[in-house]
């Protein structure tokens, strides 16, 4: 019989002799699972409440320094040193390198502190810089594409107004007021009929003042009766009246225009139309406009994606 088999037998005997009597069927059925559960809970509790993993005590390869576990890349350090000292890195002295790294660590500490203070949430400059930085990354692929001549010309035609000088107009806006004003009893039908007569007389050459007095027109007060840029006239007249005004030429009288406050008539003294710049003359601006459009499209798509994946709750009564 070999010595190995002896040892095995002795071992079995030993286990049976020492442990066997202690582990009864009842013990195995209830107590052992309970002990296992307690040990499991203890381990889980220890894992849950113990301190987080100890901080790294060595710097990973490729990293010049770890600042609160945040790396400063060696590549960034070399680049910063060469930028600051303006000579190749291998010629920069140890003292100069140390000074550069010191500055980078200082900056990293300030950045970390800024994040701890939640500056992105509270400081408008930081928020703007973050948003701009992200947009720059979103824009980059779009801006790598060159438009063709046809694409650029199509863009120009679709946005001609952006490449036009502003037109001007000197226009009078008179109104036959209806309801609640001096012609309180006059309804829109009557006012419309009177206005059509007035327009006929004005177009026949009758003096504006006489016609206004005869029919009870008043100056609407919307425009200055002086030369205005088109954009200003549009603001003052409102979209509906401006749409009529921009079709008039020098000396034209508009048809009556029904508005909430009465029936208006526009008298155009002088009209200088916008001058649309020739495509060849504004190619550079069109090119920039085209690229701005690409940029805006890329940013809008990115925001649409972000919104689709965000949870946004608005307080009652809030709109966006």
């Amino acid at each position: 019989m070999s010595s190995t088999s002896k040892i095995v037998r002795v071992s079995r005997t030993s286990r049976r002799g020492v442990i066997g009597p202690l582990v009864s069927a009842e013990f195995r059925g209830v107590t052992l699972p309970a002990i296992a559960a307690i040990i499991g809970l203890a381990v889980a509790g220890w894992s849950l409440f113990r301190a987080s993993a100890p901080p790294a005590t060595s710097v990973p390869p490729g990293v010049a320094a770890l600042v609160n576990q945040r790396p400063i890349l060696t590549s960034d350090f070399i680049s910063e040193a060469e930028t600051e000292i303006s000579i190749p890195f291998e010629q920069i002295t140890d003292d100069q390198r140390a000074k550069v790294l010191h500055g980078m660590i200082d900056q990293e500490l300030l950045v970390q502190r800024a994040l701890a203070l939640d500056l992105p949430e509270t400081t408008i400059e930081v928020r703007t810089a973050l948003a701009d930085g992200l947009n720059a990354q979103v824009d980059a692929p779009a801006l790598a594409v060159s438009p063709t001549d046809d694409e650029l010309r199509a863009y120009y035609l679709a946005h001609r107004a952006a490449y036009a000088s502003e037109g001007t107009m000197t226009v009078h806006d008179i109104v036959l007021k209806v309801g609640g004003y001096q012609n309180v009893d006059q309804d829109f039908g009557q006012a419309e009929a009177d206005a059509e007569e007035a327009v006929y007389k004005l177009r026949s050459g009758e003096a504006l003042a006489d016609v206004m007095e005869h029919y009870g027109f008043v100056d609407s007060g919307r425009v200055q009766n002086d030369t205005e840029f088109d954009f200003a006239a549009k603001i003052h007249l409102g979209d509906k009246l401006y749409a009529v005004a921009e079709t008039l030429n020098d000396g034209d009288i508009s048809d009556p225009v029904e508005m909430d406050d009465g029936v208006h008539v526009l008298i155009m003294d002088t009209r200088v139309l916008p001058h649309y710049s020739d495509y060849e003359a504004v190619r550079a601006q069109v090119y920039n406009g085209y690229r701005d459009q690409l940029r805006a499209k890329a940013e809008a798509e990115n925001l649409a994606y972000l919104r689709a994946n965000a949870t946004i709750l608005l307080a009652p009564g809030m709109k966006e």
Binding site: G62, T74, Q137, S146, E280, A284
Partner: protein, 243 residues
């Protein structure tokens, strides 16, 4: 007669141990090299042939997976998308082809939108913006041909030279001698190496539409070790044979 099993088992065990030992030693060595590749300053890597050999052993697979799409499996570039050849030091747009410069370009890219990327300049689109007429661009092309000792029209080249130093101000980026400026990614225009094609038509196209291709930033997409290995490989393969 009993078979000599213990002998065979010992032989097998010895083989397993030898192979295992070799593999473990190899893994330990490569782990050490990977670490040293990153901890050695880029400018000093050339002085460590084993680090260069290590980089050359791991970088090709990384290149094929991430770079070959644009720069080509043979690293000769693709003029249609302005991806430069990477096997010729003369073609480096940014920097001098050092490991550190290449590494920086891989890390942060070119016009990638990353704040650290090479974002300063792009080649102006002289034609489509109307800054130069088609005839003027043709003249500029003739001047480029002259700079590269290729057949050219003298009269047009003279006009192109005037544009180079005058209206178009090409010298501002490409230098008075046309040899470019690696600080701005302005290529050398005198060595007949063209990232966007070198035919007269290609040159006309580059001046007319400008050049604003991008190289993505690989920071956080590749590991620092992978980027360093790539940089060492590209630096090594693009070095002139004499250096």
């Amino acid at each position: 007669m009993r078979p000599r099993r213990p002998g065979r088992l010992l032989l097998l065990l010895a083989i397993v141990l030898a192979v295992g030992g070799f593999l473990v030693a190899r893994a330990v060595t490569r782990a050490r090299l990977a670490r040293e590749l990153l901890t050695t300053f880029p400018y000093a890597i050339d002085q460590h042939p084993e680090l260069v050999r290590y980089a050359l052993s791991v970088a090709p697979a990384i290149y094929q997976a991430h770079c070959a799409t644009c720069h080509g499996a043979d690293m000769k570039g693709e003029t249609k998308i302005g991806a430069p050849a990477l096997i010729d030091k003369k073609t480096w747009l940014y920097g001098d082809g050092s490991v550190a410069e290449i590494e920086r370009t891989i890390l942060y890219g070119i016009r990638s939108g990353n704040g650290e990327s090479h974002n300063v300049t792009e080649m102006t689109a002289f034609g489509i913006t109307g800054q130069l007429t088609p005839d003027e661009i043709s003249d500029a092309v003739q001047y480029l041909l002259e700079l590269n000792s290729r057949p050219y029209d003298q009269e047009a080249a003279d006009a192109g030279q005037n544009l180079f130093f005058g209206k178009a101000a090409c010298f501002d980026c490409h230098g008075m001698d046309g040899r470019g400026d690696p600080n701005y990614g302005a290529p050398n225009l005198t060595i007949n190496v063209w990232n966007n094609g070198g035919t007269e038509q290609d040159l006309y196209h580059s001046i007319y539409y400008g050049v604003h291709h991008i190289c993505p930033a690989w920071f956080n997409k590749l590991t620092l070790g992978q980027i360093r290995a790539l940089a060492v490989m590209l630096h090594t393969l693009s070095k002139p044979a004499s250096t």
